[in-house]
Amino acid sequence: MEPRLANTWRLTVNEKKFIETALQSDLRIDGRRPFEYRKISIKFGREDGSTEVQLGQTHVMGFVTAQLVQPYKDRPNEGTLSIFTEFSPMADPSFEPGRPGEAAVELGRVIDRGLRESRAVDMESLCVISGKSVWSVRVDLHILDNGGNLIDGANIAALAALMTFRRPECSLGGEDGQEVIVHPPEVREPLPLIIHHLPIAVTFAFFSNETSVVIDPTHYEEAVMGGRMTATLNANNDICAIQKAGGEGVLQSVIMQCLRIAGQRAHDITTKIKNAVESYNTERALRKIKRHSNSVSLDVCDADVDVVSERSKLIPGKSIADQSMDIEGETKSSKQGQTSRIDGDAKNFIGGPSSWDPYAGGVNLDSLKASLASRGTSTPSRKEKYSRGENMSCEADPVEPPEDNSLASSPIEAAKTPLGTNGEKTLKDAVKSKNKRKKKASSAGGS
């Protein structure tokens, strides 16, 4: 159906003039300097290859999947990479469902060019049987919130997703050695993609006042700007792609200045992405370490720092090494929800305003332990059960040995549920707790 008038959002003349006038004094309406980027936050989902990137108010999600297909005739040795962008109607009232508009197509093409032409992802390693079977990698980018500068945000999401994606390992078998056997992740560890370099897109906006250039425009600035340029570069200062589709004419000197600045920004952003991926990989590795029944430490995902440290006192042996790594992993990247919300994963998508990250404010570890002491061992029981749902991690027994738990709970004042008993009602139900295992108050039907 044709776009309805009520969907278009227009900036008033006053607002436009305000933005332009402020820019003449190098002031932007959100308080940034002209060449300052917004804050980037990269979070990862539960599965490999899913990320959520926040660039200021812009939210983008990226998912990477792969499947075996026949290769193109003219490239029998190479896998394929395809990028699908979805401008979800939730991002902007003017995005309509259905066929992608020109902005969506342009975004898809710019990101595609940056990745494909610069050979950032190694395609030849994706070949299984030449001419018959190759991996086809598909990147889905969902734009959830349009706060401006979608190209950069989507690009970062695509790169982070590609770097954390793991494809299943496969081997040749069958009678003639031509059958491809795909091994499930439990049997053989999936492999990451080979990525040579990270092409980062940096967008500039030009305004009708000739010398006004800003980096990373917000959607207000995008509504006012006269032209835009996206430069895709990597950390080695190689230009992978430049896109300037029409708009205001700009002096050459301005373009060169922009490219120089883009080089520096690309370097910063590359470091950020790499750090985020590093910490995700560490967590993932820790999750995969099989734990035995007496070292009942938790998923790395959740910060129950005090419980882990309790256990490390009680349980000698090799598990101590695991747990100290555990703590490090947790302090680096975990979140704690003290409000009435669950804290499922460090990598989950708990929304912005209501999440509470103690480590952001530099909370003292001791005070955290003290406040957490009242939570007790109930949280590990939940996390245990939680983690058991995943095929890969903690090989703990279904019913935890009770002596472990009684040892652990004695130092803790408010005693909570012993592990492994599901049917009890405990104090934590009365407490407005974040993790709520709902229990049937009356098993009226009887089970």
């Binding site: 979800s88 939730m90 039907g445």
Partner: protein
């Protein structure tokens, strides 16, 4: 008889619930709802002028757009859209803004079983966040029938695939009243016993279905309590969404 579920829950235990509101900046209302690993994000754009061609212009209209995680939109997505739309139509006050359309966009972030109930819960929370007038809230739950005849609540994807039948049920979450006579009654029967939506898959006997209903209703009481706690009134922060 004890059922051994993979993640150690009993037949009557739900996965950990989490709900957060006001996540997106441009949307008028947004919420994310997760049950265990299943996570859904919903956004609402408030009443826009005009209705679609086949809709009744004397009432407000709700439009649901379902976005899967990957892949093309096909028939299953259209079916989900229709179910969510009809469910939401029964809880919204449709007579307040005639000839307008409210859009609800549902984005699947991760699917680990019980996806449609999670989406309905997220959509309700998003409607609350947007301030759309509602008669009451809805809580949705999935019940599946294990081979032994036991009813399992809130199955994961593996459990859903192995089970022979399951049902998605949506119950109303009505206002509490201190006096028992104060609770709403329709034709003599208390409205808490109403069912808004029921979608089943697989074959189950009538008795099994009635047992599912009963378990689902009891669990929905717990979820209603959770909803009441986690959707408190929040002061709207700085900028208005309409701009």
């Amino acid at each position: 008889m004890e059922i051994d579920r993979v993640d150690g829950r009993t037949a009557n235990q739900l996965r950990p619930l989490a709900c957060s509101r006001n996540i997106l900046n441009r949307a008028h209302g947004s919420a994310s709802w997760s049950q265990g690993d299943t996570k859904v994000l919903a956004a609402v754009y408030g009443p826009k002028a005009g209705t679609k061609k086949n809709e009744n212009p004397e009432k407000a209209c709700i439009e649901v757009i379902w976005k899967p995680k990957t892949g093309q939109i096909g028939k299953p997505e259209k079916e989900y859209e229709m179910i969510v739309k009809r469910t939401l139509q029964s809880i919204c006050v449709l007579t307040i803004n005639p000839n307008t359309t409210t859009s609800v966009i549902v984005q699947v972030v991760n699917d680990d079983g019980s996806l449609l109930p999670c989406a309905i819960n997220a959509a309700c929370a998003a409607l609350v966040d947007a301030g759309i007038p509602l008669k009451h809230l809805a809580v949705a739950i999935c019940c599946c029938l294990a081979d032994s005849g036991c009813v399992l609540l809130d199955p994961t994807k593996l459990e859903e695939q192995k089970t022979k039948a399951f049902a998605y049920l949506v119950f109303p979450n009505l206002t509490l009243s201190i006096l028992p006579e104060g609770s709403l009654k329709v034709e003599g029967e208390p409205v808490e016993q109403a069912i808004i939506t029921s979608v089943t898959q697989g074959a189950m006997s009538v008795d099994d279905y009635l047992r599912c209903l009963e378990r689902g209703r009891a669990a929905s009481a717990k979820m209603s309590a959770f909803l009441r706690r986690s959707l408190p009134l929040q002061n709207p922060s700085d900028s208005s969404k309409a701009g």
